[in-house]
Symmetry: C2
Subunit: 218 residues, 2 copies
Protein backbone atom coordinates (compact mmCIF):
# COMPACT_ATOMS: atom_id res chain seq x y z
CA UNK A 1 0.00 0.00 0.00
CA UNK A 2 1.26 3.48 -0.85
CA UNK A 3 1.97 5.63 2.20
CA UNK A 4 2.23 9.38 2.70
CA UNK A 5 2.83 11.84 5.52
CA UNK A 6 0.40 14.77 5.25
CA UNK A 7 0.77 18.16 6.93
CA UNK A 8 -2.81 18.42 8.13
CA UNK A 9 -3.90 21.73 9.62
CA UNK A 10 -7.61 20.98 9.58
CA UNK A 11 -8.25 23.78 7.05
CA UNK A 12 -9.84 23.52 3.60
CA UNK A 13 -6.65 22.77 1.62
CA UNK A 14 -5.19 20.02 3.78
CA UNK A 15 -8.60 18.46 4.43
CA UNK A 16 -9.21 18.26 0.68
CA UNK A 17 -5.73 16.82 0.16
CA UNK A 18 -6.41 14.20 2.83
CA UNK A 19 -9.53 13.03 0.95
CA UNK A 20 -7.52 13.13 -2.30
CA UNK A 21 -4.82 10.83 -0.90
CA UNK A 22 -7.38 8.42 0.54
CA UNK A 23 -9.15 8.43 -2.85
CA UNK A 24 -5.79 7.40 -4.35
CA UNK A 25 -5.54 4.51 -1.87
CA UNK A 26 -2.78 5.97 0.27
CA UNK A 27 -2.32 5.02 3.89
CA UNK A 28 -2.04 8.55 5.31
CA UNK A 29 0.04 9.67 8.30
CA UNK A 30 -1.44 13.10 9.12
CA UNK A 31 0.69 15.48 11.20
CA UNK A 32 -0.88 18.48 12.93
CA UNK A 33 1.09 21.25 14.60
CA UNK A 34 0.03 23.48 17.44
CA UNK A 35 2.10 26.64 17.38
CA UNK A 36 0.19 28.96 19.65
CA UNK A 37 -2.09 29.97 16.79
CA UNK A 38 -5.10 32.07 17.75
CA UNK A 39 -7.27 29.83 15.59
CA UNK A 40 -6.42 26.65 17.49
CA UNK A 41 -10.03 25.67 16.93
CA UNK A 42 -8.73 24.30 13.61
CA UNK A 43 -7.12 21.47 15.58
CA UNK A 44 -10.49 20.45 17.07
CA UNK A 45 -11.83 20.42 13.52
CA UNK A 46 -8.85 18.39 12.32
CA UNK A 47 -9.79 15.85 14.98
CA UNK A 48 -13.40 15.72 13.75
CA UNK A 49 -12.19 14.76 10.28
CA UNK A 50 -9.74 12.17 11.65
CA UNK A 51 -12.49 10.56 13.73
CA UNK A 52 -15.08 10.65 10.95
CA UNK A 53 -12.65 8.98 8.53
CA UNK A 54 -11.43 6.52 11.18
CA UNK A 55 -7.75 7.30 10.63
CA UNK A 56 -5.24 5.71 13.01
CA UNK A 57 -1.88 7.35 12.29
CA UNK A 58 -2.64 10.95 13.30
CA UNK A 59 -0.05 12.71 15.46
CA UNK A 60 0.17 16.21 16.91
CA UNK A 61 3.34 18.10 17.74
CA UNK A 62 3.51 21.12 20.06
CA UNK A 63 5.56 23.87 18.41
CA UNK A 64 5.06 26.47 21.08
CA UNK A 65 8.46 27.98 20.27
CA UNK A 66 6.94 29.19 16.99
CA UNK A 67 4.47 31.29 18.97
CA UNK A 68 7.38 32.58 21.07
CA UNK A 69 8.99 34.05 17.96
CA UNK A 70 5.98 36.32 17.80
CA UNK A 71 5.13 39.28 15.64
CA UNK A 72 2.15 37.70 13.87
CA UNK A 73 -1.56 38.37 14.30
CA UNK A 74 -2.03 34.59 14.20
CA UNK A 75 -0.09 34.07 17.44
CA UNK A 76 0.08 37.43 19.21
CA UNK A 77 -2.31 39.99 20.53
CA UNK A 78 -2.38 41.85 17.23
CA UNK A 79 -5.72 42.46 15.49
CA UNK A 80 -6.51 39.98 12.72
CA UNK A 81 -6.92 42.09 9.57
CA UNK A 82 -10.16 41.91 7.62
CA UNK A 83 -10.69 41.99 3.86
CA UNK A 84 -8.91 40.33 0.98
CA UNK A 85 -5.58 38.55 0.95
CA UNK A 86 -4.12 41.03 -1.46
CA UNK A 87 -4.21 43.85 1.03
CA UNK A 88 -0.95 44.88 2.58
CA UNK A 89 -2.24 44.57 6.15
CA UNK A 90 -2.55 40.83 5.61
CA UNK A 91 1.21 40.65 6.06
CA UNK A 92 0.42 40.80 9.78
CA UNK A 93 -0.75 37.20 9.46
CA UNK A 94 2.64 35.95 8.31
CA UNK A 95 4.26 33.67 10.91
CA UNK A 96 7.98 33.99 10.07
CA UNK A 97 9.27 30.99 8.13
CA UNK A 98 6.30 28.87 9.22
CA UNK A 99 6.20 26.51 6.27
CA UNK A 100 9.89 25.64 6.43
CA UNK A 101 9.52 24.91 10.14
CA UNK A 102 6.44 22.74 9.58
CA UNK A 103 8.07 20.93 6.64
CA UNK A 104 11.28 20.31 8.58
CA UNK A 105 9.29 18.72 11.43
CA UNK A 106 7.18 16.74 8.96
CA UNK A 107 10.44 15.42 7.48
CA UNK A 108 11.69 14.41 10.93
CA UNK A 109 8.39 12.60 11.50
CA UNK A 110 8.62 11.00 8.04
CA UNK A 111 12.10 9.69 8.89
CA UNK A 112 10.83 8.36 12.21
CA UNK A 113 7.87 6.45 10.72
CA UNK A 114 9.79 5.42 7.60
CA UNK A 115 7.36 7.06 5.15
CA UNK A 116 9.47 9.29 2.92
CA UNK A 117 6.70 10.93 0.87
CA UNK A 118 5.30 14.15 2.30
CA UNK A 119 2.26 16.00 0.98
CA UNK A 120 1.18 19.50 1.86
CA UNK A 121 -1.49 21.83 0.65
CA UNK A 122 0.34 25.03 -0.29
CA UNK A 123 -1.54 26.76 -3.10
CA UNK A 124 -1.32 29.61 -5.53
CA UNK A 125 -3.79 31.89 -3.77
CA UNK A 126 -1.23 32.40 -1.04
CA UNK A 127 1.53 33.58 -3.37
CA UNK A 128 1.32 37.31 -3.03
CA UNK A 129 1.81 37.68 0.68
CA UNK A 130 3.33 34.45 1.98
CA UNK A 131 6.88 34.02 0.63
CA UNK A 132 6.93 30.41 1.81
CA UNK A 133 3.96 29.43 -0.39
CA UNK A 134 5.67 30.42 -3.67
CA UNK A 135 6.88 27.93 -6.22
CA UNK A 136 10.52 28.98 -5.76
CA UNK A 137 10.26 28.09 -2.09
CA UNK A 138 8.58 24.73 -2.69
CA UNK A 139 11.14 23.84 -5.38
CA UNK A 140 14.03 24.70 -3.07
CA UNK A 141 12.51 22.63 -0.26
CA UNK A 142 12.20 19.67 -2.62
CA UNK A 143 15.95 19.86 -3.25
CA UNK A 144 16.91 20.08 0.41
CA UNK A 145 14.57 17.18 1.22
CA UNK A 146 16.60 14.97 -1.09
CA UNK A 147 19.80 15.46 0.92
CA UNK A 148 18.81 15.91 4.58
CA UNK A 149 18.60 12.20 5.34
CA UNK A 150 20.37 8.98 4.32
CA UNK A 151 17.64 8.41 1.72
CA UNK A 152 15.91 11.11 -0.33
CA UNK A 153 12.62 12.49 0.98
CA UNK A 154 9.99 13.45 -1.57
CA UNK A 155 7.83 16.56 -1.08
CA UNK A 156 4.63 17.04 -3.05
CA UNK A 157 2.44 20.14 -3.12
CA UNK A 158 -0.16 19.08 -5.71
CA UNK A 159 -2.40 22.13 -5.17
CA UNK A 160 0.40 24.66 -5.69
CA UNK A 161 -1.01 25.99 -8.95
CA UNK A 162 -4.66 25.73 -8.00
CA UNK A 163 -6.89 28.47 -6.64
CA UNK A 164 -9.06 28.06 -3.56
CA UNK A 165 -12.03 27.87 -5.95
CA UNK A 166 -10.58 24.87 -7.81
CA UNK A 167 -9.51 23.16 -4.57
CA UNK A 168 -13.08 23.40 -3.26
CA UNK A 169 -14.36 22.24 -6.66
CA UNK A 170 -12.11 19.19 -6.37
CA UNK A 171 -13.17 18.60 -2.75
CA UNK A 172 -16.86 18.69 -3.65
CA UNK A 173 -16.21 15.94 -6.22
CA UNK A 174 -14.34 13.93 -3.57
CA UNK A 175 -17.19 14.34 -1.08
CA UNK A 176 -15.18 16.30 1.47
CA UNK A 177 -17.19 17.12 4.58
CA UNK A 178 -16.27 20.82 4.81
CA UNK A 179 -18.38 21.17 7.95
CA UNK A 180 -15.28 19.72 9.66
CA UNK A 181 -12.78 22.12 8.08
CA UNK A 182 -11.97 25.28 10.01
CA UNK A 183 -10.77 28.42 8.26
CA UNK A 184 -11.36 31.58 10.30
CA UNK A 185 -8.18 33.18 11.66
CA UNK A 186 -10.03 34.72 14.60
CA UNK A 187 -10.74 31.40 16.28
CA UNK A 188 -13.99 32.40 17.99
CA UNK A 189 -17.01 30.09 18.45
CA UNK A 190 -18.34 30.91 14.98
CA UNK A 191 -16.36 31.91 11.89
CA UNK A 192 -16.24 35.71 11.46
CA UNK A 193 -16.86 35.75 7.68
CA UNK A 194 -14.69 38.86 7.39
CA UNK A 195 -11.02 37.95 7.79
CA UNK A 196 -8.96 37.23 4.66
CA UNK A 197 -9.22 33.52 5.23
CA UNK A 198 -13.05 33.52 5.63
CA UNK A 199 -13.45 35.89 2.67
CA UNK A 200 -11.47 33.59 0.39
CA UNK A 201 -13.40 30.51 1.56
CA UNK A 202 -16.80 32.13 1.07
CA UNK A 203 -15.80 33.28 -2.42
CA UNK A 204 -14.61 29.76 -3.30
CA UNK A 205 -17.96 28.22 -2.33
CA UNK A 206 -19.92 30.97 -4.10
CA UNK A 207 -17.90 30.51 -7.30
CA UNK A 208 -18.75 26.80 -7.13
CA UNK A 209 -22.43 27.60 -6.65
CA UNK A 210 -22.46 25.77 -3.31
CA UNK A 211 -23.39 26.79 0.20
CA UNK A 212 -20.56 26.61 2.75
CA UNK A 213 -21.76 24.12 5.42
CA UNK A 214 -20.19 25.96 8.39
CA UNK A 215 -22.03 28.60 10.35
CA UNK A 216 -20.91 32.24 10.29
CA UNK A 217 -21.60 35.14 12.62
CA UNK A 218 -24.61 36.81 11.01
Amino acid sequence: MKKAVLIFSGGVDSTTLLYELLDNNYEVFPVTFFYGQRHKREIDYAKKTILELGLKNWIGYPLTALGKIGGSALTDDIAVPEGNYDEDSMKDTVVPNRNMILLSFAMAHAIRVGVLDIYYGAHAGDHAIYPDCREAFVDAMKVVAKVCHYEPINIEAPYLHMTKESIVERGLVLGVNYANAWTCYKGEALACGKCGSCTERLEAFALNGEKDPIEYIA
Copy 2:
Protein backbone atom coordinates in the same frame (compact mmCIF):
# COMPACT_ATOMS: atom_id res chain seq x y z
CA MET B 1 28.06 47.48 13.00
CA LYS B 2 27.83 44.09 11.30
CA LYS B 3 25.24 41.79 12.86
CA ALA B 4 24.78 38.03 12.80
CA VAL B 5 22.45 35.42 14.26
CA LEU B 6 24.45 32.43 15.57
CA ILE B 7 23.11 28.97 16.33
CA PHE B 8 24.86 28.55 19.65
CA SER B 9 24.69 25.14 21.28
CA GLY B 10 27.37 25.78 23.87
CA GLY B 11 29.65 23.13 22.33
CA VAL B 12 33.18 23.54 20.98
CA ASP B 13 32.24 24.49 17.38
CA SER B 14 29.62 27.15 18.08
CA THR B 15 31.59 28.58 21.01
CA THR B 16 34.63 28.97 18.75
CA LEU B 17 32.45 30.54 16.05
CA LEU B 18 31.02 32.98 18.60
CA TYR B 19 34.54 34.18 19.48
CA GLU B 20 35.36 34.31 15.75
CA LEU B 21 32.40 36.59 15.02
CA LEU B 22 33.19 38.85 17.98
CA ASP B 23 36.81 39.00 16.79
CA ASN B 24 35.42 40.20 13.44
CA ASN B 25 33.45 42.94 15.21
CA TYR B 26 30.00 41.44 14.74
CA GLU B 27 27.13 42.18 17.08
CA VAL B 28 26.03 38.60 17.68
CA PHE B 29 22.47 37.34 18.32
CA PRO B 30 23.07 33.83 19.71
CA VAL B 31 20.13 31.39 19.59
CA THR B 32 20.14 28.25 21.76
CA PHE B 33 17.62 25.42 21.42
CA PHE B 34 16.48 23.01 24.06
CA TYR B 35 15.12 19.90 22.40
CA GLY B 36 14.98 17.41 25.22
CA GLN B 37 18.64 16.52 24.68
CA ARG B 38 20.18 14.31 27.35
CA HIS B 39 23.19 16.62 27.42
CA LYS B 40 21.17 19.69 28.38
CA ARG B 41 24.12 20.60 30.53
CA GLU B 42 25.48 22.20 27.34
CA ILE B 43 22.88 24.95 27.80
CA ASP B 44 24.23 25.78 31.27
CA TYR B 45 27.66 25.99 29.66
CA ALA B 46 26.30 28.18 26.85
CA LYS B 47 25.07 30.53 29.56
CA LYS B 48 28.52 30.64 31.20
CA THR B 49 30.04 31.84 27.91
CA ILE B 50 27.27 34.39 27.35
CA LEU B 51 27.76 35.81 30.86
CA GLU B 52 31.54 35.82 30.63
CA LEU B 53 31.45 37.69 27.34
CA GLY B 54 28.68 40.03 28.55
CA LEU B 55 26.42 39.39 25.53
CA LYS B 56 22.93 40.88 25.59
CA ASN B 57 21.04 39.37 22.65
CA TRP B 58 20.96 35.69 23.69
CA ILE B 59 17.64 33.88 23.33
CA GLY B 60 16.57 30.30 24.01
CA TYR B 61 13.75 28.43 22.30
CA PRO B 62 12.10 25.30 23.66
CA LEU B 63 11.85 22.69 20.90
CA THR B 64 10.41 19.92 23.01
CA ALA B 65 8.57 18.53 19.97
CA LEU B 66 11.96 17.49 18.60
CA GLY B 67 12.41 15.23 21.61
CA LYS B 68 8.90 13.88 21.04
CA ILE B 69 9.93 12.64 17.59
CA GLY B 70 12.26 10.31 19.41
CA GLY B 71 14.47 7.50 18.26
CA SER B 72 17.78 9.10 19.17
CA ALA B 73 20.17 8.30 22.01
CA LEU B 74 20.48 12.08 22.50
CA THR B 75 16.83 12.44 23.50
CA ASP B 76 15.54 9.00 24.45
CA ASP B 77 16.40 6.28 26.91
CA ILE B 78 18.80 4.63 24.46
CA ALA B 79 22.42 4.05 25.52
CA VAL B 80 24.86 6.67 24.22
CA PRO B 81 27.38 4.74 22.10
CA GLU B 82 31.07 4.93 22.96
CA GLY B 83 34.06 5.05 20.63
CA ASN B 84 34.75 6.94 17.44
CA TYR B 85 32.33 8.81 15.23
CA ASP B 86 33.01 6.50 12.31
CA GLU B 87 31.40 3.54 14.01
CA ASP B 88 28.00 2.51 12.80
CA SER B 89 26.43 2.58 16.27
CA MET B 90 26.95 6.34 16.31
CA LYS B 91 23.93 6.59 14.05
CA ASP B 92 21.93 6.20 17.26
CA THR B 93 22.92 9.79 18.06
CA VAL B 94 21.23 11.20 14.95
CA VAL B 95 18.23 13.35 15.82
CA PRO B 96 16.12 13.17 12.62
CA ASN B 97 16.47 16.32 10.53
CA ARG B 98 17.79 18.28 13.48
CA ASN B 99 19.87 20.82 11.59
CA MET B 100 17.05 21.76 9.19
CA ILE B 101 14.73 22.26 12.14
CA LEU B 102 17.28 24.39 14.02
CA LEU B 103 18.12 26.40 10.89
CA SER B 104 14.45 26.98 10.09
CA PHE B 105 13.85 28.35 13.60
CA ALA B 106 17.04 30.42 13.42
CA MET B 107 15.69 31.91 10.17
CA ALA B 108 12.38 32.75 11.84
CA HIS B 109 14.31 34.44 14.65
CA ALA B 110 16.51 36.23 12.10
CA ILE B 111 13.39 37.59 10.38
CA ARG B 112 11.96 38.69 13.72
CA VAL B 113 15.08 40.61 14.82
CA GLY B 114 15.84 41.86 11.30
CA VAL B 115 19.33 40.32 11.13
CA LEU B 116 19.43 38.27 7.94
CA ASP B 117 22.89 36.70 8.30
CA ILE B 118 22.97 33.35 10.10
CA TYR B 119 26.12 31.51 11.16
CA TYR B 120 26.36 27.93 12.33
CA GLY B 121 29.20 25.61 13.18
CA ALA B 122 28.61 22.52 11.03
CA HIS B 123 31.96 20.92 10.24
CA ALA B 124 33.57 18.21 8.20
CA GLY B 125 34.15 15.81 11.07
CA ASP B 126 30.40 15.20 11.17
CA HIS B 127 30.06 14.24 7.49
CA ALA B 128 30.10 10.51 7.69
CA ILE B 129 27.16 9.92 10.00
CA TYR B 130 25.10 13.10 10.04
CA PRO B 131 23.48 13.70 6.63
CA ASP B 132 22.53 17.23 7.67
CA CYS B 133 26.16 18.28 8.20
CA ARG B 134 27.22 17.52 4.61
CA GLU B 135 28.07 20.19 2.08
CA ALA B 136 25.16 19.18 -0.18
CA PHE B 137 22.76 19.84 2.69
CA VAL B 138 24.31 23.18 3.63
CA ASP B 139 24.33 24.30 -0.03
CA ALA B 140 20.64 23.37 -0.44
CA MET B 141 19.74 25.24 2.76
CA LYS B 142 21.55 28.32 1.46
CA VAL B 143 19.30 28.25 -1.60
CA VAL B 144 16.06 27.84 0.34
CA ALA B 145 17.11 30.63 2.72
CA LYS B 146 17.22 33.02 -0.22
CA VAL B 147 13.52 32.49 -1.04
CA CYS B 148 11.70 31.81 2.26
CA HIS B 149 11.23 35.46 3.17
CA TYR B 150 10.61 38.78 1.41
CA GLU B 151 14.35 39.45 1.47
CA PRO B 152 17.08 36.82 1.04
CA ILE B 153 18.58 35.28 4.16
CA ASN B 154 22.27 34.41 4.12
CA ILE B 155 23.53 31.22 5.79
CA GLU B 156 27.22 30.78 6.55
CA ALA B 157 28.93 27.63 7.84
CA PRO B 158 32.58 28.78 7.85
CA TYR B 159 33.90 25.64 9.61
CA LEU B 160 32.29 23.22 7.14
CA HIS B 161 35.60 22.06 5.70
CA MET B 162 37.57 22.18 8.94
CA THR B 163 38.29 19.30 11.28
CA LYS B 164 37.71 19.47 15.04
CA GLU B 165 41.49 19.71 15.39
CA SER B 166 41.68 22.84 13.23
CA ILE B 167 38.61 24.40 14.91
CA VAL B 168 40.27 23.99 18.32
CA GLU B 169 43.54 25.31 16.83
CA ARG B 170 41.64 28.40 15.66
CA GLY B 171 39.89 28.75 19.02
CA LEU B 172 43.16 28.63 20.95
CA VAL B 173 44.41 31.54 18.81
CA LEU B 174 41.17 33.43 19.52
CA GLY B 175 41.52 32.81 23.26
CA VAL B 176 38.33 30.75 23.59
CA ASN B 177 37.65 29.69 27.16
CA TYR B 178 36.91 26.01 26.47
CA ALA B 179 36.27 25.43 30.17
CA ASN B 180 32.82 26.85 29.34
CA ALA B 181 32.16 24.61 26.31
CA TRP B 182 30.31 21.36 26.95
CA THR B 183 30.73 18.35 24.67
CA CYS B 184 29.83 15.05 26.35
CA TYR B 185 26.62 13.46 25.04
CA LYS B 186 25.95 11.71 28.35
CA GLY B 187 25.23 14.92 30.24
CA GLU B 188 26.41 13.74 33.66
CA ALA B 189 28.19 15.94 36.22
CA LEU B 190 31.58 15.29 34.61
CA ALA B 191 32.32 14.50 30.95
CA CYS B 192 32.64 10.75 30.33
CA GLY B 193 35.69 10.90 28.06
CA LYS B 194 34.40 7.88 26.14
CA CYS B 195 31.47 8.86 23.93
CA GLY B 196 32.14 9.81 20.32
CA SER B 197 31.85 13.49 21.12
CA CYS B 198 34.32 13.36 24.05
CA THR B 199 36.72 11.15 22.06
CA GLU B 200 36.83 13.65 19.20
CA ARG B 201 37.33 16.60 21.55
CA LEU B 202 40.15 14.93 23.48
CA GLU B 203 41.90 14.02 20.21
CA ALA B 204 41.57 17.60 18.96
CA PHE B 205 43.25 19.01 22.07
CA ALA B 206 45.95 16.31 22.00
CA LEU B 207 46.73 17.03 18.34
CA ASN B 208 47.12 20.69 19.27
CA GLY B 209 49.47 19.77 22.12
CA GLU B 210 47.14 21.40 24.65
CA LYS B 211 45.37 20.13 27.76
CA ASP B 212 41.56 20.25 27.61
CA PRO B 213 40.53 22.54 30.53
CA ILE B 214 37.37 20.58 31.44
CA GLU B 215 37.39 17.77 33.99
CA TYR B 216 36.70 14.17 32.93
CA ILE B 217 35.66 11.12 34.92
CA ALA B 218 39.02 9.50 35.76
